[in-house]
């Protein structure tokens, strides 16, 4: 038996130049056998499943305005396993977006984007944008009244920019402006262009991952010798186990909570619905709904959101210092916390206020409140940590954040008083009091 195996191994080695898996893939450090180190592998599994289920849906889906909804309805109601496959495709997309956000914030908070892994962050942000592109194009395909109306609102925002800037993009995504041209283009982007870009950047990212390996845990250096396991069978089995749990779990959820298809799009039907994007765009939608961005001012909101993505892309070039632990980079860490919480908060808020314009002062109060509380918490934690090392020296930038947050919080309270929202004021005062008490308690414990 061993003779046969050796001959097979020799045959492969001679033809493909592969002696063993350890020649191609670097062994995995044992500390990384934890699911949070493998969110990228789960995402790759999710993308592979999207390809497989997407192919099955392609067999029945018809990308024309008169057939898109009907063919989706046929898949969901009449085709054996059709409902399961379509629901899985949808929920897998949701899971990918959710895990992609967690993956990004996890690597942000542990500073995994630092030298020499900056390129992985760049590829990751591009992959994130491609994922959101999949979401945006895929949302239109069932041709439901909500998805078509919301997509048209999204496309309509391009009109606020100068025509010379947006004309190429508009011709790519809407063509001559008819429904048929729009649907065909979204379909082509969803099933050809975006998958190609995804494959390209995923390859680049995995290649860079192999070059640099997994980032060591906080407090450990790259050069430290750690125990490692070969990909075959240890690594493969671990990733396979995670993939099986992910796919199995998602299949069960898709069966128990099957997706429902909203009514078909028609001009009449669209009059009676509030166009709303899918949940992963709700935080942007909430920013666009702020009263100061009403009418043509929406261009400033779009520039703001665009700027946020540019800053996100440039994070490794902004935070170039070597230390990775939160206390070594308190400002960027605290800002990350505030952004992460605000995204979740804006998403929930947008879900609760569909189509409503949001008074700007409310956003200042809520986001300012979040910023204040988190900055105070970070300040307390840092002060405690620093004081144990060197007699209570406070990082000036952290102090600055606390000061700015306090000013925002105070002006927010004033605005609230003016509007007579006494309960909200009491709540904010309560939060601040709780934060201050916690700090003083921590301080007392230290002494």
């Amino acid at each position: 038996m061993s003779g046969v195996l050796e001959r097979v191994q020799k045959w492969i080695e001679e033809r493909f130049g592969i002696k063993s898996v350890d020649n191609i893939l670097r062994p995995i450090p044992n500390f990384s056998f934890r699911p949070d180190y493998w969110t990228g592998a789960i995402l790759t599994t999710g993308f592979i499943m999207q390809g497989l289920t997407g192919f099955l849906l392609l067999l029945y889906y018809v990308p024309t305005p008169d057939q898109a909804w009907a063919s989706t309805h046929y898949i969901m109601s009449s085709l054996p396993y059709g409902s399961l496959i379509l629901t899985f495709h949808l929920y897998d997309a949701y899971a990918i977006i959710l895990i992609a956000f967690l993956h990004m914030f996890r690597h942000f908070f542990v500073g995994a984007y630092k030298k020499p892994r900056e390129a992985m962050w760049f590829y990751g942000v591009i992959l994130g944008l491609i994922t959101l592109g999949f979401g945006f194009t895929g949302y239109l395909l069932p041709w439901t009244v909500v998805s078509k109306s919301a997509t048209d609102v999204g496309i309509g925002m391009l009109n606020y920019f100068p025509n010379w800037l947006t004309a190429p993009l508009k011709s790519l995504i809407v063509g001559n402006g008819t429904d048929a041209a729009e649907l065909t283009r979204f379909f082509a982007l969803h099933v050809i262009l975006l998958p190609l870009l995804l494959a390209l950047f995923l390859f680049l990212k995995l290649y860079t991952f192999e070059v640099h390996g997994i980032a060591p845990p906080l407090g450990h250096s790259e050069s430290e010798n750690v125990k490692k396991t070969s990909w075959m069978p240890g690594g493969i089995l671990y990733v396979l186990m995670l993939a099986l749990f992910y796919i199995g779990g998602l299949l069960i959820i898709s069966s128990v909570f099957p997706a429902t298809l909203p009514p078909e799009y028609s001009v009449q039907a669209s009059m009676s619905v509030t166009p709303e994007p899918d949940w992963y765009f709700l935080w942007i939608y909430q920013i666009l709904k702020l009263s100061i961005f009403e009418g043509p001012n929406i261009i400033y909101a779009l520039i703001l959101v665009g700027l946020m993505f540019v800053i996100l892309f440039l994070v490794p070039l902004i935070d170039t210092r070597e230390g990775r632990s939160p206390s070594e980079r308190p400002v960027i860490f605290t800002l990350g916390m505030i952004v992460a919480t605000s995204i979740v908060f804006l998403t929930v808020w947008a879900y609760l206020t569909p189509g409503l314009t949001i008074p700007f002062y409310q956003a200042v109060i809520y986001i300012g409140g979040i910023a204040l509380i988190e900055a105070l918490a970070a300040y307390a934690a840092l002060r405690r940590r620093r004081s144990s090392a060197s007699a209570g020296k406070v990082h000036p930038s952290i102090a600055m954040i606390v000061m700015v947050s306090s000013v925002i919080g105070a002006s927010a309270s004033l605005l609230l008083l003016e509007k007579g929202y006494l309960i909200s004021v009491l709540l904010i005062v309560g939060f601040v009091y709780a934060a201050m008490t916690s700090i003083s308690k921590i301080e007392r414990l230290r002494k």
Binding site: P80, T229, P233, M241, L244, G248, I252, S254, S255
Partner: protein, 69 residues
């Protein structure tokens, strides 16, 4: 638990899960052709269970330390 015991427990759980899920898939696939709503609900549950059973088998295999050999 010893390595062999862990492997046996994993194998037993997997076999049980696989038996149940294969039977479920077989029964639901007969009904799903007629679009039976219950079968539509259960089909994915059984396929999911089958995959998770394999996952459990690997988890026990890893737990026993055999994958590091």
């Amino acid at each position: 638990m010893k390595k062999v015991q862990l492997l046996l427990v994993g194998l037993f759980m997997t076999l049980l899960g696989e038996l149940l899920s294969v039977a479920g898939i077989y029964l639901s696939s007969q009904l799903i052709i007629n679009n039976d709503p219950l079968a539509r609900l259960l089909s994915g549950v059984f396929i999911g269970l089958l995959l998770i059973s394999f996952g459990i088998m690997i988890a026990f295999y890893r737990l026993s330390g055999s994958s590091e050999a």
